[in-house]
Subunit: 501 residues, 2 copies
């Protein structure tokens, strides 16, 4: 056993423990904590973040990380150990340049920002949030600038944090392709607008029954309730403490049956990924999913690729009908599935259909690029937001609650995150294409046996945690790096058939 590595790990496991505590506070804050708790709790979160920082960022840790990164030392490490050192070096380099006091102040700020955002959204009042958002942006710019080298762009630094190796140059190309392919499709579909029946969704669906059915579907797709829980929050999310404590949230709206079901399946995709990470990796720096893009590929694969397919509902649709007696009797399975894939431009990203979703992401990507190029002020964000929605989706929000305030991400300081949603869909399509060459996915779904699908994902993606990055996972799986053509083909094929274009 390498003694330097052992010494480094004894320090890092403390940092992991602080991180896990911070994750639990985050979970609690978003699902349960009382309204007035945050001022006091933020102090504690700030202190814990500071401790995390002190353990991670100091001369001895730096020395050990750099020593173990040298070729000669690295030779003595296993594959997983090397991946851990690499990941630590990345985290260290990110943190090292941030002064501890700034890091603590920033942690306290984002801890409070969540409830300030939630209140502002509820009250449709951007003014109540804009100073907080401005502060967060300033910190993000400052933190990125500390890491800037040469003529590197600030936003490229943030993009790389979420998806190693991806830059604005690559994403501009990716989104250009999307625009070229999707905008004409959306246009063609809008000309056939009345094709799909959705009237039956305009009913009240018992929240109690939605809860029951969502839980059933979660278990059905493979979410293991011995290792996970479901709770509720305004904005569904997944958070894990380790591979045997994986938490997802969903939300139940009496007037929107679709939302709870597909939010749940979506978060299950994230959750199953985390549950399947190898035991020897969990609670280490490479113990989580490898990137936001790959994470989203899993959630979108479950939600859209299989969850919205005809085959998926063969064993489930009668159960759904039974869960809401009398309410879906007159709706055939085919009509239900078609309705679940109905496409129409809307204002809310999280409620967007699979086809127009990427346009929502595109808008955020373009706005974030402008923020970090100092081309827009915080005050100008609502107007810019509305202008872009008009341009790409032909709609203008009637208030900021359904406009610039709709997403939680910026309140948590997550800039550079949104593009991962579109990348995730593209990665999902690429994985799906390869999966179909190995197993009969449709047959699995029709027979209600999702085990081979989960086993495939575990084998090629999940088990590795963050020991391999996106590119390495895809190459190891099929011999091909990221290729967005699969996604274009998938969407074109799916929507051409559905709308008989």
């Amino acid at each position: 056993m390498n003694q330097n590595y052992e010494e480094l790990m004894s320090k890092i496991e403390k940092a992991q423990a602080f991180q896990e505590a911070l994750s639990l506070f985050e979970w609690d804050n978003q699902t349960l904590a009382p309204k007035m708790a945050m001022d006091n709790t933020a102090k504690t979160i700030g202190l814990l973040s500071n401790e995390f920082f002190s353990v991670m960022v100091n001369d001895r840790v730096k020395e050990l990380i750099y020593l173990l990164s040298e070729e000669k030392e690295a030779e003595t490490l296993t594959f997983n150990q090397k991946a851990i050192v690499k990941q630590l070096k990345k985290t260290f380099d990110q943190l090292e340049k941030i002064p501890p006091a700034e890091y603590q102040a920033y942690s306290e700020l984002t801890a409070k920002a969540n409830s300030i955002w939630a209140k502002a959204k509820e009250e449709k009042n951007f003014d109540a949030y804009k100073d907080t958002l401005g502060e967060i942006i300033s910190y993000q710019k400052k933190f990125a600038s500390y890491r800037q080298t040469g003529d590197q762009k600030l936003y490229d630094i943030l993009l790389d944090d979420f998806e190693e190796g991806f830059t604005m140059e690559m994403l501009d190309q990716f989104f250009d392709k999307m625009k070229t392919a999707i905008i004409p499709l959306v246009k063609k579909i809008s000309e056939k607008q009345d094709f799909i029946k959705r009237d039956f969704l305009n009913q009240s669906f018992s929240v109690e029954q939605q809860k029951k059915f969502s839980k059933e579907v979660a278990a059905y797709v493979g979410f293991d309730f011995d290792k996970g829980v479901i709770a509720e929050s305004a904005h569904p999310f997944t958070l894990n403490l380790h591979n045997k404590d994986v938490r997802i949230t969903t939300h139940y709206l009496e007037q929107n049956l679709e939302s709870a079901i597909f939010s749940t399946i979506h978060e299950c995709g994230h959750g199953i990924y985390e549950m399947n990470i190898a035991d020897e990796l969990t609670q280490t720096p490479v113990g989580g999913g490898t990137s936001m893009g790959v994470h989203e590929s899993q959630s979108r694969f479950f939600e859209n690729v299989i969850g919205r397919s005809e085959a998926f509902w063969v064993p489930l649709y009668e159960k759904l009908q039974a869960a809401f007696p009398g309410q879906l009797d007159a709706v055939s399975r085919e009509d239900f599935v078609a309705a679940m894939n109905y496409s129409k431009p809307g204002l809310i990203r999280t409620e967007a259909d699979e086809l127009t979703y990427s346009l929502h992401v595109l808008i955020r990507y373009e706005i974030e690029k402008m923020i970090f190029a100092d081309q827009v002020t915080v005050e100008e964000l609502p107007a810019l937001w509305n202008q872009k929605y008009q341009e790409y989706l032909g709609l203008t929000p009637s208030h900021d609650g359904e406009g610039v305030l709709q997403d939680i991400h910026w309140a948590g300081g997550s800039f550079g995150y949104f593009p991962s949603y579109a990348l995730g869909s593209a990665i999902a399509a690429q994985i799906y294409d390869y999966m179909k060459s190995k197993i009969d996915v449709e047959d699995c779904l029709v027979k209600g046996n999702l085990k081979p699908i989960e086993a495939f994902l575990k084998e090629h993606i999940h088990q590795y945690g963050a020991t391999k990055n996106t590119k390495e996972l895809l190459l190891a799986m099929s011999g091909e790096a990221f290729n967005s053509d699969y996604y274009i083909a998938y969407l074109t094929d799916k929507y051409t058939k559905l709308y008989q274009l």
Copy 2:
């Protein structure tokens, strides 16, 4: 500002943050965490406990605490600062003698013990728990022995942790008085057994309605939902992160209406205490309730002294009837209140009536004394338990699930805690006696205005947190130290009237 004090506080606030994180893990573990999570999470809890330990127990902290405890330095401190130093000295002296590795191992053990106990209780299988319990007892004996001075008894050390200044000698006297007064009362009542109607309780009461009504009652007695939450757990408890994040749990049993209502009121008593602690004390070492006994005095005051009184139900009983349409129409308020005070020996402490409750505590007190005097082995506990239940309550458990496995406390290492329950009842009666000389309690209850009652408790008890101990609080309130005669008189009077003895 005293610089030594400032330096000490900068260290202590870290310890507070770790403690708060540990509290959140405990809450989560008991209310939500998935079944398989604990092995991994225990590692994290162990590491955090260890960090707490390192921050609290080191030469510089010792030096500062002892320096600030000296008269000359203490003179420069405020009343609250002096109380903080005193409290720190107590905690320090408790921890200093425990080797860090043992402390961490013990923390991991108790983190796991909760689920082992819960499973054993569910399966009525003491064998599955006894090794864990044995280990916990060994640690507790060892830890107490590290602090032993002269011919001090181990159990006295534990008692003092929960109730400063209380010893076996005092408690033996207290329980002897109880026995002398209560056993004859219980006997007299048993001769009038059919006096009180309880048949109406043998119905199913909708859990959903119980939840709704319990929440209403919680708000009614003063639990502030902006600063607190209610969740569910097998064994109701209260836990607070600070004075604006106070959490209580309760449980709902379809066949037992009484249980949810009075468990909720009980925990509200604990919760309101914590919510009323002064802002300048919260998140400091004296930011919680002063002792288990005083804490229990508040919960029992709310649950029994007022909650089970006739006056309390005047404004509430019609609401209860309305919550369960048709189910309580034929039951008068007088009959309902009498039923809530019905007294009969039973096997389960948490379901015991106000009168026989102290006998359950007595049994645990006697058993704990024997454990720490090495007069009983872990293997012998079930038989000893059953024998004592037969002796004092005339009943023998049919299995260990309703016997020695019924309480969670020992799984958390809480030995010396149980006597606080009986002391709490006695303190509640003493406070009540004085309160009645200052405000018209019955009138407040009848009018549905509990504010003067809460204000009284805040003024004399709550606000001080742990800056004053039990004795100091009672003396400052009424000029009299702890006196159990009020309790004897209260019980005798209440049950003599109720049962027309």
